[in-house]
Every structure is written in C-alpha cells, then in structure tokens.
Amino acid sequence: MAKGLSLIAGGAVRARSDPAEYRPVIGESGGPFRLPAPSTPTLSELFAIPRDPGWSGFLLPQVNRGGPLLWVQERMAILETGRIYPPGLGAADLVPEIIHVEARDARAALWAMEEGLRCNALSAVIGELWGDPASLDFTATRRLAVAAERSGVACWLVRLGGTANLSGARMRWRIVSSPSLINPLDPRASGPAAWDAELFRARGAPPGRWTIAHEADAFHLVAALGGRALGEDERLRA
C-alpha cells in the first residue's frame, strides 16, 4: 500500500499552471488520501511514454522493502530510456538489494520475471518492456498475475510506449509526469515530483484519475477525486 502519495488535483482538473496553488486535498472518506492498491500482491501494469521517465518515482514508494528487488529491463528499454542508476533510486537500503537483469528481448524478460515471481523471498519484481512485443499476450500477463498471486510477490509490468491491449493485470495505470511542486528552497528549481496518474482498470476499485505528489514520506491529494466517466474518455483515447 502506498503510504505517501498525496493528491494534488483530481478528476479532469489538470495540474494548475502555478505550482504555488497546489495544496493537499483530503480524501473521499475524510481521512488522508489513499491510493487505490490491491489488498494482496498481484500484477499491476503501468503504461508510460518512453520520453517521460516519471513513472519510476510513482512506482518505487509503493514497493515494499522486505527483500531483494528484481528489476528486469529489456534491451530496448535500456537503450531508449536508460539503465537504472542505483545511487539515484533513493533509499540506501534498497540499492544493494537490487538484482538487475538485462534481457535480450521481451521473451527473456517475461521468463526472468516469471522466474523471479516463483521466489517468494523477493519484495517485488519490476519488468520494463518496450512497445508491444508479440510475446506479451493475454496468456503471458495472466501467467504473471497468477504467479504473483501464488507467491505473494508484487509484480509491476512497465510498458514503455505500449498500447493497452488485452491484459490479465489486476490494476492498470497510465502515468504521465506533471509539473513538480514548489521547491521551498529555490523557486527556480523543481520541487517534489508530481504525476498525472490514471487508473483505467482495477479489480475492486473504481477507476479514476488524479494528480498526485509524493512528499518526503506521504503521497497526498490536492484536489477531489475524479469520476469514472472521466477515466472512460481517456481509455477511449488510448
């Protein structure tokens, strides 16, 4: 469960032009905003634009730090969007625990992910795939979902520049960077990252679209939750 995501704009409200206007929004139930998350570890799919690297900042706070993290990158993903850089990934306790796999193609990447999901000592498996590989069909995603649920290891399938076709993922996100929050120390510099996150399919949770930010230890919400219909038109666009 994401501990520290805050909503800074919800629904159709795009991130405001003036970052100074951001202020956390209280969640639906009156308590702090909670990002929809599966109750048990499962497969989540995350769509990102290759040019937009913001998704990893959205994903990493949601990874629980209970063990090594298997990070599989397809070769094309490395060439196009870069190799993960441990000193930048933040928390020092995470860095030595990363097992990085450079997969030749999507087939090898999917194999490595599934192999990782069989090992329940891992905290999570993250796999980055480029485009729409032929080997990534409904069966492949379904296999990942079943393996993740059986072993209790969360699996994140990151699709860089992919289209949202049929998938067995329980939660499907579309993540786009949003202008960052104000930096209290230097107004010219970027502050805490913010994302325009769209949950367009989820089991047991209503879809929605939020602009959220992650501050030191809390994700929070800066505008009211969006309606389902607003998620719908985004899906049609995709």
Partner: protein
C-alpha cells in the same frame, strides 16, 4: 634423480660430464653429477671450482631444485597405485604398505614391480621395505643392495640387518655424525652396542637415542600422507554409445546423487560444476554452470544443468559421462527448520543461479558502489553470481591505506534523495541547447528531434574529470537538473568550458532521467 630428469629434457649426449650446480655461500656447489662426471672425480656437495681443478672439461649447468621437488610431488601421486598412504620425504617417497603387499604377490614382487615401473619412467630407484620408516630410509640410501637387504620378517628390538650401515643412516645432523665417528662409533651396530644411558647423557641434544628408537621401532614415527585430494567427481560409463540427446540428461540424474554424496561426506558445496560427455571418437563435450552460493542440493543442481546437458551434441554417441565440481567451497550441514523450508537467502541465491544459467553472468547483476564522483563510474555492476567479498576487500583496503597514499579518490557522497537520476543512459546523448548566455542556464533543448522547453532548472553541479584515470583531454562537466514544461525531469550536462583549452565549444549531453 636430478640428473635423470635433466638428461631427459636436455640435448646433451648421455655421456657428457655434466655438473648440475646450485649457488652456495662461496660460489657454486655441485648438486648432482652425471656418471661420466663422477668418473672424473666430481662429487655432489663439492665446489665446482674444486671439481674443475681436477678436470677442466666438466660442464657446469644450473640445477632446478624446484622442478625436482615438483617431480617428486608428482611421483608421490603416481605412487598411490601401490599404497594409499604416500609421503614425500625430502628427495624420496615413503609408502605405508601395511596390508597391501599381498595385492602384488608379496613384498619381493611388490619391490620388483616398483623397480620395473620406475625403470620404465627412465629413473633409477633404490627401494627398501622395513618394519619402521627410519629403517627403510637407512636401507634404501646406505645399503649396498637395498632390495636384498630388506628384512621381510618383523625387525626385532636389536635392529638386525642394519648393524653394518654407517652412522649417517640415522639421519643425525652432520656434526653429531662426525663426533660419533671420531669416537670410533662408525656403524649402527656399534652404536646399538653402547649402553643407552651413556648415549642419552652424552648426546642429549642430538637425540641419538631417539634416532635409534625410531630405527628399531621403540618410538613411533607416523607417516603423514600427502594430501589425498580426490577430485569431486562422479562418473558413469555406458556399455553402448548413446546417440540421443536425452542420454546426457538421464546420465545427469544418476550422476548428481553420486556427486552430492561425495560432497556431503566432505561438507563441501559446489560453486562450479562441469558435465563432460565423452564421445566414442575421443572428443569431449562440456557443459558447465556456476552457482552464487555453495550448493549440494540435488534438485537445484539438476535444474541448473538439465538444459545445458540436453544441448550437448552426442555426434557419434557418448560412451561415458563425468560430473565434476570444478570449484567447491566449505558448506556445513545446515537445516533451517524441521520441515524442509529453504531460507530467504538461499532462495534468492537459487533464483540468481537460474537466471544466470539461462541469460549469462553479465546480464544478471547487482549494483556495486565505486569510489568515484563520475556518475557512470560511481555505480558499478558486478555479476550476481560472484561473491561481493572480493570487491569489498578492495574497497576497505583502499580506505585503510588512507587518502594520502590512495589514488582511488574520495569516498562516495551520501546518497541524496532527488539529486541523482533514477536512470542513466549508457552513452550520454548529444542534445542541442539554447541558453540565454553561454555560461548561463539552459532555456530549451532538443533531444531525439523533439524540443523541450525548460521550465525549471537547478545547477550547475560541477563534476571534474578524474585526472588520475582519464586522459588529460577529458573535460569537466556541469550538470543541470532541468524540468520541462510537461514536468519531465532530465539530467543534462555541458561538457567543458569555453576557453578551457581542451577542444572547441562545449557540447551538451543528456545523461540521466529522473523519476
């Protein structure tokens, strides 16, 4: 022996008068001589100049004591054919043949077998069998006919058959030998006739009585066998050559339990395994795997090797297989819990093994911090199968030496949240940047044919080249953290300064991407 070894490898005529010499405190000393040289008066232990004075035609060549010692080591292993307990004793070998002589048809036939086989190697041997190791040593070296002098009966307390041997056969130090000879005690028999009490009192320090007791068996002299290091290996011979590829997998199923038993007995775990298939035409096919922690888990090893075994090409057929633990490490007997449940650590190690076997060690890696400020150097990667201990040692070694003597650079900066990108391009990509002033902040950049308007920027963070490692033409880098109007954040840098004398105008590159 040194001469025989030399004669085999050198191009000299067999009857050349050659001296093999070693360096002594006062010039070269003769180590060994050929029979021809011995006829001309050269003796081992004498000085080369003295021998040359007798016959100037002697040829002096340097000896190779290390090579000789290595040969003895090899012979010791070879001598394992006669007895499992073989000890290298100076320039000789000691074998414990207790209970093995009947396998060769008695002591005499054992000795003749040894002589025959050593002769086949081109070596002269002096062999003696005696109830005590000291007696055998004395007989082999000092008896004129060592073989016939071997007492096949148990040696009584008196040491029969040894009385005529000189005192030197007791392996005493040379000074004691000289003293005893001056006293008129020239043979072991004469020494044995002396009262023990008197000998013990007079030669207390030289332990003459001890030497006599070892000779007669009153004092034990256990034999320390050369480390009997059997290879960790299991073999399977097939009666008929097998040509279908499944044969290797089936052989593996039978070999792994055998190897695991062997490893279990010695409390070892395999780090690297090689399955060799022997083809009928004499060629071999090898499949090998490595594991990240020592393992002797049959299922795990089977799983790692099965694919590779199936890929072995039988060609005209395999007629044998060998599975060998090429590299092993101590592995204690560990049981985590009553129900067989592997620990998290070994689970992860197994995962790494499986991934490595399929994808290759250079594709499955873990981060390893390096002492460097240059971003692409600061985060090294090491194959996940290799143990981190080695690199850690190097690092701590560099720290111990301190900054004054080490050129390894300063220790890495603390990881600061948000100041380093999540991802780094393997090769920084050139971008076109529009800036307000040449030294000022960038305003706009074009990366992969798309323009990004820079909305916010922070920097520069100047990273100087590592002059002790990089060429002198390397330019410094000014890194900027930029955010475009869409909120995407990048790490770009300007390489060099205007007028730094290291090339033309500074270039701009995109290096990292922030999450």
């Amino acid at each position: 022996m040194a001469v025989e070894r030399w004669a085999k490898t050198s191009g000299y005529a067999p009857d050349a008068p050659v001296l093999l010499t070693v360096e002594g405190p006062h010039g070269p000393i003769i180590h060994a001589v050929t029979p021809a040289a011995a006829e001309r008066g050269a003796r081992s232990g004498a000085r080369v100049t003295d021998a040359r004075a007798l016959d100037p035609a002697l040829i002096a060549l340097p000896a190779d004591p290390a090579g000789d010692a290595a040969l003895v080591e090899r012979l010791a292993r070879w001598a394992g054919r006669w007895s499992p307990l073989v000890e290298v004793d100076g320039d000789g070998l000691r074998l414990d043949v207790t209970g093995v002589t009947h396998l060769f048809g008695g002591e005499d036939r054992l000795v003749s077998d040894m002589e025959r086989r050593f002769a086949a190697l081109g070596m002269t041997s002096r062999i003696a069998i005696a109830p005590t190791a000291a007696a055998a040593w004395a007989l082999a070296r000092f008896s004129p006919l060592p073989r016939s002098a071997s007492p096949s009966r148990p040696l009584p307390q008196g040491g029969e058959g040894l009385e005529d041997l000189p005192i030197a056969a007791l392996r005493l130090d040379p000074d004691t030998v000289v003293t005893l000879e001056r006293l008129g005690l020239k043979t072991i028999g004469a020494l044995l006739a002396m009262p023990r009490v008197a000998l013990a009192r007079r030669f207390k320090a030289a332990a003459v009585v001890d030497a006599l007791d070892r000779l007669t068996g009153r004092k034990a002299e256990p034999l320390v066998a050369a480390a009997n290091d059997r290879p960790r290996r299991a073999t399977l011979r097939l009666e008929e050559p097998a040509t279908h590829p499944e044969a290797a997998v089936q052989a593996l199923e039978r070999l792994i339990p055998a190897l695991v038993r062997e490893l279990e007995q010695r409390r070892l775990g395999a780090r690297r395994l090689a399955l060799t298939g022997f083809r009928i035409d004499g060629s071999m096919a090898v499949a090998s795997i490595a594991t990240s922690i020592p393992s002797r888990e049959p299922k795990h090893l089977q799983r790692l090797l099965a694919d590779k075994a199936a890929a072995l090409d039988p060609e005209f057929g395999f007629d044998g297989f060998a599975l060998e633990a090429v590299w092993d490490e101590p592995l204690g007997v560990a049981q985590a819990s009553l129900v067989e449940e592997a620990s998290a650590e070994s689970e992860v190690a197994r995962l790494i093994d499986r991934l490595t076997v399929k994808l290759g060690p250079e594709r499955v890696r873990r981060p390893q911090a390096q002492e460097s400020h240059v971003p692409e150097r600061a985060s090294g990667w090491r194959p996940a199968v290799s143990s981190p201990a080695f690199a850690g040692e190097v690092m701590s070694e560099a720290r111990r030496r301190g900054p004054s003597t080490s050129f390894a650079g300063p220790p890495p900066l603390e990881i600061e949240g948000g100041t380093k990108p999540h991802r780094l391009l393997d090769r920084p990509e050139a971008i076109e940047v529009i800036y307000a002033t040449p030294e000022g902040l960038p305003r706009r950049f074009v990366w992969r044919r798309m323009a990004h308007d820079i909305a916010r920027v922070e920097g520069p963070e100047r990273i100087a080249p590592e002059w002790w490692r990089q060429p002198s033409s390397a330019r410094l880098r000014d890194y900027y953290r930029v955010e475009d109007s869409q909120g995407r954040r990048y790490w770009i840098y300007r390489e060099g300064l205007i007028g730094d004398g290291r090339g033309g105008l500074p270039g701009w590159f995109l290096h990292g991407l922030f999450g």
